[in-house]
C-alpha cells in the first residue's frame, strides 16, 4: 500500500507523539509541494482571469470531485462504478427540478438552501440503491451493471418530458445569492468549488485511514477473510457507495450551478466514461489522482482543437489528439500520472533499488 508506505517513510523518531499522530493522519502537511499547490490554488483569482478560473480550474475541481468518488470506490473498495457521473447528474437535475429555473412548469421554485440538501439527499439515496444492486456483483459485472444504470438514466432523461424535459433539458437554473454576494460570480464560485473540493479530498483521505476505510480496503483485498473475521462485507461496500454518492452529488450540484443548465448530454454514456478516463489517467491509488486527471482532461478538451488548427491540421480531428494523449499516459503508467510521479521519486531516492514501487491495487 502506497499510503502506509508514505506514512512510514515520513515519521521521524525525534518527533513528539502528538506530532507523529498528526503526521500519520495527514502526511501532506509535511510535504512542501502540497503547501505550494494549496497556496497557488488559494491565490488563483489573482493570477488567472475569468476563463482560466472557471472554465479550467473550477471545471477541473468539479470533474475532480466526481472522479474522486470513483477513485474512492475503485481505489479503496475495488469497485469500478461507472454511474458516478449519473449520480452527479441526478443531483444536478434535482437542483433544477426542486429549485428555480426558466422552465417554470417543471421547477418547483424552492429556495436554494432547501433544494440543494434535497438534491444531495435524493442523489445519495439513488447512488446507494444503485450500489446495493451493484455489490452483488464483482469486477467486470460491477462495471456492466453500473454502466447499465448510467445508460438507462441517460435514455430516461432523454425521453421523459414531465420531470426532465427531454432532450432540451432544464435551462436558466437559478444559482445561490445571499449575504449580498452572487455565488455564481467567477471568484466567489471558484472559492465555493475549491472549498467543496478540499472538503471532499480531506474527507476521502480521512475515511481511507479511519477504521471503516481500513476495513473497506480489507474487504477489497480479501473479502472472505474479512467475512470470517466477522465483518459484514456487503454492508461495508454499500456504505462506501453511499459515501461516494454523496461526494458525486456535491460535484453534480456544482456542475449545474456552473452551467446553469442541465440536459441529457450532461449524463450521456460518453460523459460517464470520461469520468473513468479522468480517474484512470490521474491514478486511482490516491485521492489527488482524480484532480490531476481532471486537469489534464480539461486542458486537452479545451485546447486540442486550437492546437491542431495552429499547426495547420484539420481541427475536426481534435478527438484523436485527446485519445492519443490518454493512450500515451496509460501506456507508460498503468497507475496514471500518480504512478509516473511515484516511480520518478522512487528512482531518485534509491538509485540501486528496483524501479517499481509497491503501488496500490485496484479493481
Amino acid at each position: 500500500m502506497s499510503l502506509l508506505q508514505s506514512t512510514q517513510l515520513r515519521t521521524e523518531p525525534t518527533a513528539s507523539a502528538a506530532r507523529r499522530a498528526l503526521v500519520r493522519a495527514w502526511p501532506e502537511l509535511q510535504n512542501p509541494v502540497a503547501w505550494l499547490v494549496a497556496l497557488i490554488l488559494v491565490i488563483m483569482p489573482l493570477i488567472a482571469n475569468g476563463f482560466f478560473l472557471i472554465e479550467i480550474f473550477a471545471t477541473t475541481l468539479i470533474l475532480g470531485i466526481i472522479a474522486l468518488s470513483l477513485m474512492f470506490l475503485a481505489g479503496y473498495g475495488g469497485m469500478v462504478s461507472l454511474m458516478q457521473l449519473t449520480i452527479a447528474g441526478f443531483a444536478g437535475y434535482m437542483v433544477a427540478v426542486f429549485g428555480m429555473s426558466g422552465n417554470a412548469n417543471i421547477s418547483l421554485g424552492w429556495p436554494w438552501w432547501l433544494a440543494t440538501p434535497m438534491a444531495l439527499a435524493l442523489a445519495t439515496i439513488f447512488g446507494t440503491l444503485g450500489g446495493a444492486l451493484a455489490v452483488r456483483t464483482e469486477g467486470i459485472y460491477t462495471i456492466m451493471i453500473t454502466l447499465a444504470i448510467g445508460a438507462a438514466f441517460y435514455y430516461f432523461t432523454n425521453q421523459n418530458w414531465a420531470i426532465f424535459n427531454g432532450h432540451t433539458g432544464i435551462n436558466t437554473v437559478a444559482t445561490p445569492y445571499f449575504w449580498g454576494i452572487d455565488w455564481r460570480a467567477d471568484i466567489a464560485f471558484y472559492y465555493v468549488t475549491l472549498g467543496v473540493a478540499a472538503i471532499c479530498y480531506f474527507a476521502v483521505q480521512y475515511v481511507s485511514r479511519a477504521p471503516f476505510g481500513l476495513a473497506l480496503q480489507g474487504v477489497r483485498d480479501n473479502s472472505r477473510r474479512m467475512a470470517a473475521l466477522g465483518f459484514n462485507t456487503n454492508a461495508h461496500r454499500v456504505a462506501a457507495y453511499a459515501f461516494a454518492s454523496f461526494i458525486a452529488a456535491l460535484g453534480g450540484v456544482l456542475q449545474v450551478w456552473n452551467y446553469r443548465q442541465i440536459s441529457p448530454g450532461s449524463v450521456s454514456v460518453g460523459a460517464c466514461i470520461d469520468i473513468l478516463i479522468i480517474a484512470v489517467v490521474g491514478g486511482i491509488t490516491r485521492p489527488i489522482g482524480p484532480f490531476i486527471g481532471a486537469f489534464i482532461f480539461v486542458i486537452l478538451r479545451t485546447f486540442a482543437l486550437d492546437l491542431l488548427v495552429k499547426f495547420g491540421l484539420d481541427g475536426n480531428r481534435f478527438r484523436l489528439l485527446i485519445g492519443l494523449g490518454f493512450l500515451a499516459i496509460v501506456f507508460w503508467s498503468s497507475d496514471g500520472v500518480i504512478g509516473l510521479w511515484e516511480r520518478w521519486r522512487w528512482r531518485r531516492r534509491k538509485p540501486s533499488a528496483p524501479t517499481r514501487p509497491g503501488g496500490g491495487r485496484h479493481g
Partner: protein
C-alpha cells in the same frame, strides 16, 4: 522539489499573459455541430459561412473581422460550453451560433446573461427560441421549423391526395416544431395524422420503428436529419419499405440527398418543404449556388448548398451588413449594431428576410419534390413558393397562442 515549484510559478505567469491587448479587430465566435449525428450538417454550415465571407469580404470600414470557430454536438450543454469558451477565452464580441434546435433554446437563455453582446442565430429552428421569452440581444434570420413546413400539408392533401399520414421524427424541439407546422396545416385541410413516433437523436437501430410503421396510411412523414436519416433510409430499404414518403427540412436536404449508397433513392418523388429549393430559378439563388460551388472543390462540398449552408450564409450576411451600416461601432454595449440588426432587410439567396418584433425572421418558404437529375444526383425541385411566412403561420396571434407549444402531442390533429 525546487524544479517543480519553479515550473508551477512559470505556469502561473503563463496564464497571466494574453489577457489585455488593443482591439483593432472585431472578434466573432461561430459554433457548428462538427461532432456527433449532425456533423455533416455542421460542416456544410461552415461552408455556407465561408461562402459568405468570400462574397462579402471580411472588412467593416477600417476594421477587420476575425472569426473563431468552436465545435458542438447538437446537445444544449455542448453549445453552452462552446459559447462560453468563445466569450471568456477568445473574447469574442459577437456570436454566430448555434446550429441545432435545443442548442438554440440554451444559447438564447445564455444570451440573457450577456446582454452587452450580440447573438445571431446561425441555423437553429426551434419555435421556442424566439417565441417564448425571447432574449433582446438574440436575432434569428432564418425561419423556424414550423415556418419551414408551410405549404406542405395543403400540397399533400390537395395535390397528392393523401388523407392519412404517420410521422417519424427525432425526439427534440426542432422536429416538434416541424411536425407542429405540418400537422396544423394538414389537419386543418381535413387530413388525419394517425401515429407520431419519436426516436432519440443519434438512434442507430430503427428496426422497431420500421416494424411499427402503420400500413394503412397514404404516406409517412420523416423528420430526421444527418446520420439518423441515412441510417433510417438504409434500414427502411432493407426492410422492403415501399410507402409514399414526405420529408422535413433537414431530411430532404443535400446533406441526405448527396449521401453515399443507394438508400437515398427511396426519396425520389418525396414531397417536402423547406426554406430553400435546390433548383429555384431566382437569379440571387443561382448566384449563391455558383458562389458556393466556386468556393470549394467538388469532392469537398455538396453539388448544391444544403439548408444549413444557406442559413449560415444568411446569418453571416446579416452580421456583416449590420456591422457595415454602423461602421463597426460597438460602443455603448453594441446598441447601434443591435438597432441596425433589428431593422435590416436581407436580400438573402432564399428570398427576402425581415425580422418581427421578437427578432424572428419572416421569409419565403418552398414546397419541393425530389427529382433525379439523370446523372444519379438528387435535387429538390421547387413546386410552390410561399412568400412572407411569419412565425404564427398566418394565424391570429391569440389563436396561435392557444394551440400551445410544439411537443410530442401538440398540436392536436384538428382545425384551429
Amino acid at each position: 522539489m525546487l524544479k517543480g515549484s519553479v515550473g508551477l510559478i512559470a505556469l502561473g505567469s503563463l496564464l497571466l499573459s494574453g489577457t489585455a491587448f488593443a482591439q483593432e479587430k472585431i472578434k466573432v465566435g461561430v459554433t457548428a455541430t462538427l461532432e456527433g449525428t449532425y456533423t455533416v450538417l455542421g460542416e456544410d454550415g461552415i461552408r455556407g459561412f465561408q461562402t459568405a465571407l468570400n462574397t462579402l469580404g471580411k472588412k467593416v470600414g477600417d476594421k477587420e473581422l476575425e472569426f473563431v470557430i468552436a465545435s458542438t454536438d447538437a446537445t444544449p450543454d455542448s453549445a453552452v460550453r462552446a459559447v462560453r469558451k468563445l466569450i471568456e477565452q477568445d473574447k469574442v464580441q459577437i456570436l454566430l451560433s448555434p446550429l441545432s434546435g435545443d442548442e438554440g433554446i440554451a444559447v438564447k437563455n445564455f444570451a440573457k446573461t450577456h446582454p452587452e453582446l450580440t447573438f445571431i442565430n446561425a441555423a437553429s429552428g426551434a419555435q421556442e427560441t424566439t417565441y417564448v421569452d425571447p432574449a433582446p440581444n438574440f436575432f434569428r434570420y432564418n425561419m423556424d421549423g414550423a415556418q419551414w413546413q408551410v405549404g406542405l400539408g395543403k400540397y399533400a392533401y390537395e395535390t397528392k391526395g393523401y388523407r392519412k399520414i404517420a410521422t417519424v421524427g427525432e425526439d427534440y424541439s426542432f422536429i416538434y416544431t416541424q411536425v407542429f407546422g405540418l400537422v396544423l396545416e394538414f389537419c386543418g385541410a381535413g387530413g388525419q395524422v394517425t401515429n407520431r413516433q419519436w426516436v432519440p437523436l443519434g438512434t442507430k437501430d430503427f428496426a422497431s420503428v420500421i416494424a411499427a410503421l402503420p400500413d394503412d396510411v397514404d404516406a409517412i412523414y420523416l423528420g430526421l436529419g444527418g446520420a439518423d436519416a441515412v441510417n433510417f433510409l438504409n434500414q427502411y430499404q432493407q426492410a422492403g419499405g415501399k410507402a409514399h414518403l414526405m420529408g422535413g427540412s433537414i431530411m430532404i436536404d443535400q446533406t441526405i440527398l448527396s449521401s453515399k449508397g443507394s438508400a437515398k433513392n427511396a426519396l425520389i418523388g418525396t414531397i417536402a418543404a423547406s426554406g430553400q429549393a435546390d433548383t429555384w430559378e431566382d437569379p440571387a439563388w443561382q448566384k449563391f449556388v455558383k458562389a458556393y460551388q466556386d468556393s470549394f472543390p467538388p469532392n469537398k462540398r455538396f453539388p448544391s448548398p444544403s439548408l444549413l449552408a444557406t442559413n449560415y450564409y444568411g446569418s453571416t450576411m446579416a452580421l456583416i451588413l449590420g456591422l457595415r451600416q454602423v461602421n463597426g461601432d460597438l460602443s455603448n454595449n453594441q446598441a447601434k449594431l443591435k438597432e441596425a440588426l433589428a431593422k435590416i432587410e436581407l436580400d438573402a439567396p432564399n428570398g427576402k428576410i425581415k425580422l418581427d418584433s421578437n427578432r424572428q425572421a419572416i421569409g419565403t418558404n418552398f414546397v419541393t419534390e425530389v427529382v433525379d437529375d439523370g446523372k444519379g444526383a438528387l435535387f429538390s425541385k421547387v413546386v410552390k413558393v410561399i412568400p412572407n411566412v411569419n412565425q404564427t403561420l398566418g394565424y391570429d396571434p391569440a389563436v396561435f397562442a392557444k394551440i400551445g407549444l410544439p411537443s410530442r402531442t401538440v398540436p392536436e390533429c384538428k382545425k384551429y
